[in-house]
């Protein structure tokens, strides 16, 4: 009888498998029609809606170009937060969570791999939104800002998906992630400065706004579009990097906490 070979799961393989399979199984908004709708339709309709509102308001602190640019960026929440936070919820609904929890797979690879495709769709959403802003709404972009825009788009996409994974971690404990996803899908429109300067808000809400990566991302995009230098952009990029590190760390921490609870009580999949 040949000896049984027990092979440790390859980290990269787990990461890649999750990157490929999660969009077909557990992530929300990942059917091709939904992806196209998220990338092509949502930015345009959202920008148009708030552009007309801004035009009617005539508020000098939030002119049409300011609002359009904010809403070119804000739809990224669909492909990052709303899509990603459903991943743990779906595992529970499909009855696959128990199998995941008893597998020896590395949790970081298992969980973070799921963010791969949403990062790409988030980047596509941002690029399309900014193209709409430039060519349909005639928002001016500073010459030579393409490189800085590309860096900002990359950092913002990763940090937003990190935030989505954090919410997915919270959703491990909830009955459904849809409510949480919907709240964070739209709350950014109010607290991130997408439609008016954050300073318009009461102070406690401003603090909450500054906890969202979207707030820093919108500031970075606006600064880039206006041709701001590295001294302005570096702190904003730093905030996005910090947000990514914190949210991913917290997401994995939550997995650990809820996994231990699940193994102890056997109740986590009974949402």
């Amino acid at each position: 009888m040949s000896p049984t070979i027990v092979r440790a799961p390859n980290l990269l393989r787990v990461l890649w498998t999750n990157a490929v399979f999660a969009p077909r199984t557990t992530l929300g908004f990942m059917r091709i029609d939904y992806v196209l709708g998220t990338v092509l339709i949502v930015p345009f309709t959202q920008m148009l809606f708030f552009a007309v509102v801004a035009q009617l308001a005539g508020n000098p602190s939030a002119p049409v170009a300011f609002v359009v640019l904010g809403n070119a960026v804000a739809p990224v929440t669909y492909s990052s937060i709303f899509s990603v936070c459903q991943t743990t919820d779906s595992e529970k609904h499909q009855g696959t969570m128990e199998h995941l929890l008893v597998s020896p797979t590395n949790r970081a690879a298992l969980y973070l791999g799921r963010g791969f495709l949403p990062i790409l769709t988030s980047m596509a959403t941002l690029v399309v939104g900014l193209l709409y802003a430039a060519f349909l709404f005639h928002v001016p972009f500073a010459a030579g800002s393409a490189g800085s825009l590309a860096i900002t788009i990359g950092l913002l996409s990763v940090s937003m998906v990190g935030f989505g994974l954090l919410l997915g971690g919270v959703a491990l404990f909830l009955r459904t992630s849809i409510i949480l996803g919907n709240i964070f899908l739209f709350i950014g429109l109010l607290l991130s400065g997408a439609n008016f300067p954050v300073s318009f808000l009461p102070l406690p809400l401003q603090w909450v706004g500054y906890l969202l990566p979207l707030t820093w991302g919108i500031s970075a995009i606006r600064a880039t579009a206006s041709g701001a230098g590295l001294m302005t952009l570096l702190p904003l990029w730093g905030a996005l990097l910090l947000s990514t590190a914190v949210t991913l760390g917290l997401a994995l921490g939550l997995w650990g906490v809820f996994e231990r609870q699940a193994l102890r009580t056997g109740s986590i999949v009974r949402f």
Binding site: T45, Q55, L56, I179, N182, F186, L189, F200
Partner: protein, 266 residues
């Protein structure tokens, strides 16, 4: 032998009652459909509040309208979808009462629960805005708001009928939502949109009804040139077309399910 006609009103009221009980049993589901309008209402309030009390009324009115829209779209999408998932579509269709009245009850309850979003925005804005809101003719306002609700329900009926034949109800709900808000002028007068959008806007009864509501309640409102009476006539006319279309499609659906029997597997 005398043929006993099933009571449509009784079926409608039973559907309303059951939908209401289901909503009260799990009211959290109002959040997905109304969170967007509430947030948009607050965002519009922040933009409008420096431009006078009339525009602040736009934000409240718009949030209420969008909230009802959201719930109607959501309710219409689920009106038949949920029956399919639970396996109750065919049994419900095989009852003597037309399915239309069952769906209509669900949609009306959804539209009414959508008022929650408008009330949230109204309560917060009333607290946060330091000036009185210039609402003219409050009685007419309430009546016309109810009328807007009925026009929304008529669109919901047609959508729910269409949704019987398509797997794209979720897609239309998610990606059509903003489009509906824009084209019906929920947060601004439709006349601000490019002229070519007007014919599309006028195909929807809520566009007319909302314009009439603004004529009646907002001082100095300048909407469609035909004024309040034209708006009411237009709303009633388009709504009747929608109701006739919904009735026709549902009749076809019922015939289809009896003939082919594959409705569950659309």
């Amino acid at each position: 032998m005398r043929k006993v006609e099933p009571s449509r009103l009784r079926a409608f009221l039973a559907s309303v009652r059951l939908s209401l009980l289901l909503f009260l049993a799990d009211p959290q589901w109002v959040i997905p459909a109304t969170i967007a309008p509430v947030i948009f209402g607050f965002a519009a309030f922040e933009l409008y509040q420096g431009s006078g009390a009339t525009l602040v009324l736009y934000a409240i009115l718009g949030a209420g309208m969008m909230s009802m829209w959201g719930q109607t779209l959501y309710g219409a999408g689920w009106a038949t979808g949920q029956d399919r998932e639970l396996g109750t579509l065919e049994p419900t269709l095989s009852t003597p009462t037309s399915y239309l009245w069952v769906v209509f009850g669900r949609i009306v309850v959804n539209a009414v629960t959508g008022l929650v979003g408008g009330l949230v925005v109204f309560a917060v804005v009333s607290f946060a805005y330091p000036h009185p809101l210039p609402l003219h003719a409050p009685v007419e306002f309430v009546l016309l708001f109810a009328f807007v609700l009925v026009t929304l329900a008529s669109v919901g009926l047609v959508l729910s009928a269409v949704y019987v034949y398509t797997r794209y109800a979720g897609f239309i709900n998610n990606f059509g939502e903003f489009g509906f808000y824009i084209i019906t002028g929920s947060m601004f007068p439709v006349v601000l949109l490019p002229f070519w959008t007007s014919p599309i806007a006028l195909l929807l009864p809520p566009t007319w009804a909302l314009d009439a509501l603004r004529y009646a309640s907002l001082p100095g409102y300048a909407g469609f040139g035909w004024g309040f009476t034209g708006d009411i006539l237009g709303a009633v006319g388009t709504m009747l077309v929608y109701l006739a279309a919904a009735g026709s499609v549902y009749h076809r659906v019922e015939q289809h399910v009896l003939t082919v029997g594959n409705l569950q597997e659309y």
